[in-house]
Symmetry: C2
Subunit: 490 residues, 2 copies
């Protein structure tokens, strides 16, 4: 009876599946189309690149379609097609690197191959294949080994591959043909034609510059750090009533930086092949970007730790948090502003040294105030040193991040000289500077014995204002909870 039921259920399930099949197929197709759409929308340059490759292929096909061209190159035209397919890379740097490697390696290996055939012919018909075999074996092995050298692997790997390929082909086929020089000439010229078509299409039809991508990537990574800092402040210090899922994406923006090293290395490597373009000169210091990127990644590593405290359930007690909240908020906000100014400086290739250093100074002052707050709050935490450990560690990580931001700013400043950044001395260009003349200003809350939050908020505030050389223009005392955009440092 049960078996019957089972069978019926199974049959019904099968019929249902059969009935659902068309709609599932439709869903599958729609999903695929959406995927394609998304891929193109994420970076429309992908679609353009695909069309560019199609264009290059069509252009190079003319070697076959047009009778006079076919008469002069014959079947060697296929080397042009091969070159176009293999050399067409996404970025200009990639295309140039492959085309130049291919052209140069073909030239050298072709010449060596012709020489090898001539030498081998001196050894008679029987000795010829032996000499050729030995030469192909040894040069092939040596060139393969050379590909393990880091420096060659990085820049000339493709060249070494083409060297082996061309030398072997010329040397071996030279054994069976006497027209070796004609073949070599035809091949070299078709490869040059294919390579030239690729380079021209790559540079003049919606070019994608590896250098510009690298530049934007580094600037964006700095912005991501700034956003993560901002998100951290919101998420850590807001009460748990709010759903933390909303701001999640923002705090976790730094994650992608942790794994961006290989992309940066590749882009920097390709950028060195590119001619001057747009704002970048020929000898733009591309490798210096890697130094900045390394420091940014170092900072992201600290975020990974910080993130652990945001996610962790064992937070420090609320009263301790509320004591460190103000200086911590200022620290992260000012460091975030400094990062944003650095990102802007890179993006616009102009100097904002004063602005950046002011923010960093503010942030460092907040650290000092934090130390003060910790010292003052000491009697209060006597019983629960263990409980405040996560809080103390969080603070310490935050301090590390501020120090890291300073290092990044130093590296970018050094870089800005090498990369000829514009000077922005006009104060109108950085209006946010004015309000930061006020360095220390805010409230220090005397620590109370009771842990009660209400009592705490009603307590008298001691207002401290420290100014940088010139007297302040703003003089009203702000208390906690007032407008957060001014730099009131506890």
């Amino acid at each position: 009876m049960e078996m019957d039921l089972n069978a019926q259920v199974k049959k019904a399930g099968f019929l249902q599946r059969l009935k659902d099949f068309p709609s599932q197929l439709k869903d599958g197709v729609i999903k695929r189309i959406k995927n394609v759409h998304k891929l193109g929308k994420d970076d429309p340059r992908r679609i353009i690149h695909s069309i560019k490759v199609g264009l290059s292929l069509t252009l190079v096909s003319m070697l076959y379609y047009v009778r006079p061209l076919y008469n002069s190159f014959g079947v060697s035209g296929m080397w042009a097609i091969l070159t176009v397919v293999v050399v067409s890379e996404f970025t200009v740097g990639g295309t140039l690197s492959k085309a130049l490697n291919r052209g140069f390696a073909t030239l050298v290996a072709g010449a060596l191959g012709v020489g090898a055939v001539h030498v081998a012919r001196l050894c008679g018909h029987k000795g010829e294949p032996i000499v050729l075999g030995i030469l192909v074996f040894s040069l092939g092995a040596a060139a393969t080994f050379s590909r393990f050298f880091p420096r060659i692997k990085q820049r000339y790997d493709y060249g070494a591959l083409i060297f082996i390929l061309t030398f072997s082909m010329v040397a071996v086929s030279g054994y069976r043909t006497d027209e070796i020089l004609v073949i070599a000439y035809q091949r070299l010229s078709t490869i040059l034609i294919g390579g030239t078509i690729c380079i021209l299409v790559s540079i003049f039809v919606f070019p994608v510059w590896a250098g510009e991508d690298l530049h934007k990537m580094v600037a964006n990574n700095v912005t991501k750090l700034a956003n993560s800092l901002e998100g951290f402040e919101n998420e850590y210090f807001t009460s748990s009533e709010k759903t933390s899922k909303e701001t999640n994406s923002c705090v976790r923006e730094y994650k992608s930086i942790l794994s961006s090293k290989s992309t940066e290395d590749t882009l920097a490597n390709l950028a060195r092949w590119e001619p001057g373009h747009g704002r970048f000169r020929l000898r733009h210091p591309w490798t210096k970007y890697l130094k900045i990127a390394g420091l940014v990644r170092q900072c992201a590593i600290h975020f990974e730790i910080l993130n652990g405290y945001v996610l962790s359930d064992t937070k420090a007690p609320q009263d301790f948090i509320s004591k460190i909240q103000e200086p911590c908020s200022i620290m992260s906000r000012e460091a975030g502003e400094a990062l944003k100014a650095i990102a802007k400086s890179i993006k616009t290739m102009s100097r904002y040294n004063v602005c950046v250093s002011t923010h960093i100074k503010n942030s460092k002052n907040a650290i000092e105030n934090l130390r003060l707050a910790l010292k003052l709050s000491f009697p209060d935490t006597q019983k629960d040193l263990l409980e405040i450990i996560p809080g103390v560690t969080m603070v310490s990580t935050l301090i590390d991040i501020v120090n890291n931001v300073e290092k990044i700013s130093e590296a970018v400043e050094e870089f800005s000289v090498l990369a000829h950044f514009k000077e922005t001395l006009d104060p109108k260009l950085s209006p946010e500077l004015g309000q930061h003349q006020l360095l220390h200003k805010g409230t220090v809350k005397p620590v109370l014995e009771g842990d009660n939050e209400e009592e705490y908020n009603n307590s008298p505030h001691v207002v401290i204002a420290v100014h940088d050389e010139q007297p302040p223009t703003v003089s009203e005392n702000k208390v906690m909870g007032a407008d957060k955009t001014t730099a009131d440092v506890v």
Copy 2:
């Protein structure tokens, strides 16, 4: 007068350089040779690989040298050479992936190309190049776009490239020849010959398995973590009198893990192409290695933070450090032992669950003891909460590392089931187990008012011993400074 002197100095310098030139040249050559020697010595498989490529090239040259072979394949033999050069990769997985991609793509694209030529011929002599041009453009662009899909890029990138290449070549050259089927057959068969030679040489002549490399790499990374932990303990807790440079290399071993992600991804990707070999079955769970590797990297990130404290000049005060030293040492030592057992478990593909979990348990007990020590030491640190912040943060990071080690052990245990690890129930196989039955044992030092180190060492010790279920076989009380290899946990 000064000018004269300058000129003289310059001239002398030039003569000196000229004199030095031969020795400098000699030095340069020797340096190069040493470089080559080092590269080969670091991984002798590189030399073997180079010889293997030379061997494959020599074998495939026979298509030209041997008359009967040349008669049947003609100049198509060069496709075999091309295939050998391009397909010969360092690992078996790499070679198989490229050879299969190339073979399959050639077959499909060749068939489509022949079909396209037949369709185009229906449109008359004038319409033929137009139809062919449209087909080459659209299929070329579509295949290029498909290479942006992450899943295709990861496994079939080379196949897509060869697809574009073959289709364009067949379709375009089909316009000029009527023997298209013969040419297609010759090319396909020579590509198959070239691919087969590569695969055979790759598998049967000193094979390099990507899977085995991945396996070893993950196990080694776990060992590196263990060494770093050990090095950290030595470096942080030894007095500054000793030169810290000696142990430096050990502590910094984790550094390479931070940037090993792309290598691991590549190896895991290639390993999936490989047939079963040695201890690894055909469907070995290669992707699971990436999960373990990710956790190991997470742990290495914490080491990066920990390393900051080792290098930093602002250490916590000596008396605080000496208070936390014992439990911290045990924590890191036991976690290190657990990591070593995990690495051994992966290396030998046998389970050491009991051993690993005992070490982790010991380490977690040490954390509890540390909490106790911190609580007890509280009154002492009243005045210098600020000073001990670096120490507290270091401790917190160490605790995070222990938690990370536990996560790694869980992942490896889960993996060990999937990968059919051997059971090692025989206690003889893990002799270190016996001595770990003693879970808690050691001394808790009551905190003294004075910070004096001598006074501290002469103070009475409270001995605590906690045992796991069964009574201990060893019962003598160990005091501080005794043999460190037994698990005396404070």
